[in-house]
Structures are given as C-alpha cells and as structure tokens.
C-alpha cells in the first residue's frame, strides 16, 4: 500500500481518537492540577418555610455565592499543583499510620482512596485466573461436545455476557438479599436466619463471583476460536507419542493459545480495574468501594449542587496510572514475543 493511501485510510480514526480520547484525557489531567472555587459572601437572611399553623421564619447567617453583573456566579481558578493528589492520597496520614504507635494497615485502609484501591486490586487479580480458567474449561467442553449440541451450548454460555452489568449484579443481589430465593432456601435447610449482605467478605466473594460469571463467556469465545486453529497433526503426533489428555493440553494447546490468554488477561485487567457496576448493583458502599466508584462519588452533585471536580480528575488520573502499571507485565511479554519472531 502506498504511504499516502495508508494515511488517508487511517486519518479519520486518528482524528477521532485525538478528539474523543486524547483531548478529554489531557483536559482531565490539567483539571487535576487546578482548583475552581466559588466566591462566597456572608449574608444575614431571614427565611420562611412551612410550619403549623403558621410558617416558621428564622434569621441566620448564610454563605451565598457572589454573582457578577450578569448574574453569573463568580469563580476563581488557581493552579494548585499536586495539592489535590495530596488531599486524595494523604501522605501524612499514611506516614503516621506506619510510624511507631500508628494504626498500621487498618488506619491506612480507613482512608477512602486506599480502601478503594485495596479492594479494586484484589478484585482484579483474584478474578483474573478464574476468568481465564473457566473460559478455557467451557471452550474445551464445547469443543469436545457433539456437533449438533454446540450451537445451543455456545448460545447459553454467552448469555451472561449479554446481560447489562448493573442488571446482572442486581439479579445476583436479589438472589441473596434478606428474603431472596437462595437465602430463603438456605434458611429453610439450615433453619437459621441468614443475612448475607451484613458481611463485608460476603460482598467481596459475591462481587468476584458475579464478575467471573459475567466475563468468562468472553474468554470462552476467544479461546474457542483459538481451539479451531490448533494444528491437528501436532495433536495426533502427541497422541502417537503417548501423551495423555492433560499433557496434550499442557504442551500443545496452551502454548498455542498463549497469545490469546495474554490478550484476554490484558482486556480483563483493564475492565476489572474499572469495576463500578458491582458497587451500584450490590449496594456495597458501606463495605466495599472501588476506585471508579470513588470518582463517581466525587462527581455526583449533592442536594446543594456541590461537586468535587478536581478530586474526581485526580482520582481518574490515578486510576489510569494504576491500569498502566497493571498492564506492564503482559504488554512486556507480548513485546518480547513479538521481537523474538
């Protein structure tokens, strides 16, 4: 292909990526170093609200935003450097937690950011092997199923992946909530009152279970496609050499699927680190939060319309940094393999 043709074809996607991915990213990065504050003035206000039988009027000093001559609130934006990151990461509190007489790890996990990071990282790393393992198992099972059954089996195994994540999480919550079907059944068998969602660890296990259930079909589809390209001659010669089923899997199939396993791992690390739907669906805010939820919480306006844009920006930059760090090992491996060829 001529160079100019290549650029003509690629240009639209490059432009779109710059506009919709690079530019927002840069703007979030910049926002995380700036702080926009409102300007308040203190005014004594008499306000009346409904009461019985007469309205209740109170006089109080209120902070009110200063409006300019056009009636638009005045704001001040200033460069604060790493200040927002410091507020989020609280290095002093961390140092104190690990100094003599500090609270140690439990004091560290009391800080929202570390609490969220702790759960997000364990969530990501523990689900990863399960997603790959379960996906591979389903793929092998389907591959060995009778041809006429394959279509329906593939269809059924793909279902969890089709369900919208929040809805999937919600349905698992409903199964296990106070009077959910499964809890009621367990209570019937064990004859005692069970409250699954009163325990942090129960949230943790169910959230991970949900994620594996949801994502394994994706791994399965990829691996199943990979299985169709396994060299049959190699397999047959392995059988002739007396390799058992497990040895064929270990020395022929898995090496063949390795690039795909790395690919699935990459995608899963990126997705799981951004876990968010589980927190909403399971209502786990009291027990377990994720980094993405933390960003969401900063961005959600309260009743009075306040939002923490700077902290939200800093939290998203830190989330992105976390993903990049997690992705380095698999990317390194891919690059090495690529160079080796």
């Amino acid at each position: 292909m001529k160079r100019s043709t290549f650029f003509a074809f690629v240009a639209p996607s490059v432009v779109l990526m710059l506009v919709f991915m690079a530019a927002p990213l840069v703007s979030v990065l910049i926002q995380s170093f700036y702080l926009t504050q409102n300007v308040f003035e203190e005014v004594t206000v008499e306000s009346c609200t409904p009461g019985f039988p007469n309205p209740v009027c109170t006089e109080e000093i209120q902070s009110r935003r200063v409006l300019d001559e056009n009636g638009i609130p005045v704001t001040e934006t200033s460069f604060v450097g790493w200040e927002t990151y410091r507020v989020l990461l609280q290095p002093e509190a961390v140092a104190e937690a690990f100094s003599v007489g500090g609270g140690g790890v439990s004091a560290l996990l009391d800080i929202d950011f570390y609490k969220a990071a702790r759960f997000t990282i364990t969530f990501t790393l523990i689900t990863l092997p399960f997603v790959i393992g379960v996906g591979l198992l389903i793929a092998l099972a389907v591959n060995n199923a009778i041809r006429s059954l394959r279509g329906p089996v593939i269809f059924i195994s793909l279902l969890p992946f089709i369900i919208t994540p929040v809805i999937g999480a919600l349905s698992i919550r409903w199964l296990f909530v106070g009077d959910g079907i499964l809890t009621a059944a367990l209570e019937g068998i064990l004859n005692e009152d069970i409250a699954v969602f009163a325990h942090g660890w129960a949230f943790e296990i169910l959230m991970m279970f949900y994620r594996v259930w949801h994502v394994a079909p994706f791994a399965f589809v990829i691996f199943y496609a990979g299985l169709q390209t396994v060299n049959q001659d190699t397999l047959e010669s392995a059988i002739v050499d007396g390799a058992s089923r497990f040895e064929r899997l270990r020395y022929v199939i898995i090496p063949h699927l390795m690039p795909l396993i790395v690919f699935v791992a990459l995608i899963h690390l990126m997705d799981a680190y951004r876990a968010f739907d589980e927190v909403i669906g399971f209502r786990s805010e009291a027990h377990r939060i994720t980094l993405q939820w933390l960003t969401f919480n900063f961005l959600t306006p309260d009743d009075s319309g306040n939002r923490a844009i700077s902290r939200a920006s800093a939290a998203s930059m830190l989330t992105m940094l976390g993903i990049v760090i997690l992705l380095i090992p698999p990317l390194w491996r891919t690059w090495r393999d690529h160079r080796g060829r």
Binding site: V43, E46, T49, G178, A286, D303, N306, A308
Partner: protein, 404 residues
Amino acid sequence: MLRTLLLASAGTLLTTSAALADCAFENELPLSSLSAGFEAWYAVTDAMAECGNFEAELDQEFRTKQPTGFAADPSLYHIGGVANGTLVPLLNDGTIRPLNDLVEQYGQQLTPNQLITIDGDIMAIAMMVNSQHLMYRQDIFDELGLEVPTTYDEMLQTAAAIQEAGVVDYPIGGTFRTGWNLAMEFINMYLGHGGQLFNADKTPSINNEAGVAALERMRALTEYMDPEYLGSDSTYVQQQFQQGDIAMAVLWASRAGAMDDPAESQVVDLVTMAAAPSAVEGAPPASTVWWDGIVIAENISDEEAAAAFQVAMEGMDAEMVQANNDAAIWLIDGYEPNRLSEGAIANLMGGTPPYPASTEMGLMHTALGDNLSDFLIGAESAEQALADAEEAYLTAARESGLVQ
C-alpha cells in the same frame, strides 16, 4: 375510513376543549417544567397540562439536570419543581426569579405557609410537606397492649417487647442505606439531641457528646432491624411494611399512601401514623420538615413568567387537591387531612425543625453519608467515624471555597 378518522379527530377536539375548560387560564405560550417524578408531581403537572401548550418532564434525577437547565439563556424550563435542598443551587446561581409581583397579581389564594420567603423575596411556592414520622402496626400494638412510643428509649423498649412476642421478622425498619439516607437519619437524631452541625465559621462541630449519643442510639436501633440495614432505602422499608415483615419504622410521610394500596400491601388499614419519637424526653420529634414546590426561571421573558406562574397556580388549585387528596400532605386550601396524614401533622405540631438546607449542608450530608457506616459495621469508634466525617466535610468545604 375517512369518516372514522374524522370522528376520531372530532372526539379528540372535544376532549381537548373539555380539558381546557377545566383551566381558568388559557395558555398561549409554549411552557415546560422539570420536577421530581413522584405521585404528587404527576397530579400537579397533569392539572397544569389542562391549560394547554404545556410539557412536563418528571425525572427523579432532576437535581442533576435542574441547575444547568435553568442556567441556560433562555432557560430550558420555565417551571421547576424543587424541595428545600434542591432550591439551594438555583438560589446560589441566581437562576430563579422573585415571585412577589406575580403572587400579588395572580396568587391571592395562596396561604402564608406556601410562600417560601428569603429576605422578603418570595422565591418559591410550596405545595406540600414531607417529613419522616413514626408508622406502626396498629394490630400488633393492640394485641400486645403496647403504647405508642414518644421517645427513642420507649421505641427500643417497645421493639424489645415485639421481638419477645416474635410476631414479625424484625421489630424496626429504618432507612439506613449508606449515603444520603444514613446521613438523613443521623441529622434527625443529632438535631433531636440538640446538636449544632456547624460553628459560626462554617467549620463542622459534630464530634461531640450529641454526635456520639446520636450514633449510639442509631446502633441500638439497628439491633432490632434486618441485619442488611445498610442497603435499606425508603422503598425497601415500605416493602417491609407492606409484606408484614416489620412492626414500626420512622419513614417518609409520602410513603404512607402505599401502606393502604391493596394492590401491593398486605397490611391495608393496619398501619397507623404518629409523630416521630423524640431523641430526648420533652424535645421536638427527632425529624425534619421538607417541602416541595415550584420556582420560576429567571432567564425567560416576563410574559412567559406570568403565563408559567398562572399555569402553575392552576396546577396547584383546590380542584387538583380534591381529586388527589391522598397523594401528599398538601399545603393548598381544600386539603382534607385524613388518617394517613396524622403523623406528618403531629410532627409539625410538635415543632419539628425544617431541614437546614444550605450550601454547607449539602457537603455535610455527603460527608456524613460516606463515613458513618464504619461505626455501624463496627470498624470504628463513634468518635473516629465523626472525626472522619468532619475531615471529609472540611476537605470538600475547602475545595469549594466555603472554608478557608
């Protein structure tokens, strides 16, 4: 075919004009509103629509859309449905207009209770009040010979008696869901203990005796609740009542109607309303009063504002109230209080304070909602949880420029 079409359109015309006839004011200008989407708002906006040329948007996420929608010039909406809290951002941004002239001209029928006045300017017209009050199962109380609790100590004793009798799964239900709901419970209890949320310089002042007492009281209540109380919001408590799982709860007045809805409730006519218990003997009910009402946008022409105000008045008239008497605790003339409104009225009579909505209150509400559950799950002491909430509030207040 043509004949049917003609007949049909004639029919539509007839109904439209009949509908228009219900409205004393014929509206010529296209108008729109944005409000929350609960029953009372459906009743009011339907009545407004009778004036013609009116489009209502009812959305439970209205609070995120309203400030930006009203800040546009011209404003995206003419009429806004607000409550105590959601009025604050609109006031702060200066995007709603004072209604004094309009009230004088078109609002003669309004009662003083409906005029939300700030520094002499009428900024909103209230239509209904809402408040968290005690709801209890009359049949269970009669059967066990229990008195209606007037303080939280009595409520705990009553709960113990109900638990002893084993007539329900959990004696108490509570809107303790982490976040907004949990913070609301704490604020009720803390104000009920006579606590002040802020110092004069807007710094927080919750880590004190009243704060600890409020938290301890909340934890005592959770002993009698479904152990999954940290996920339990108003709808969940309402369903617990409807399914006969709980015997009493402090719940929003707006949920009272659902108890008597035969389509979803198994306890029709069995739930009685009373004032919220006091936190300490002799104090007002430990709750807050909320109102819902309308505002008119600043960034619209005066003609549009006048038309919008008249349409809103039509929506909030006695006729609408008579047709929808049970949908809310209306402040509008013509409302007939009934069995379901007893609790809210008892709250008001008992001197329940209004929810202290303000910019700093929004930040405080979020800070409390994010930090108090650590105490309830036993991860932290009450003092530590309150200190964390103060710290979170200070961080947010500094970031917004409220506290230096």
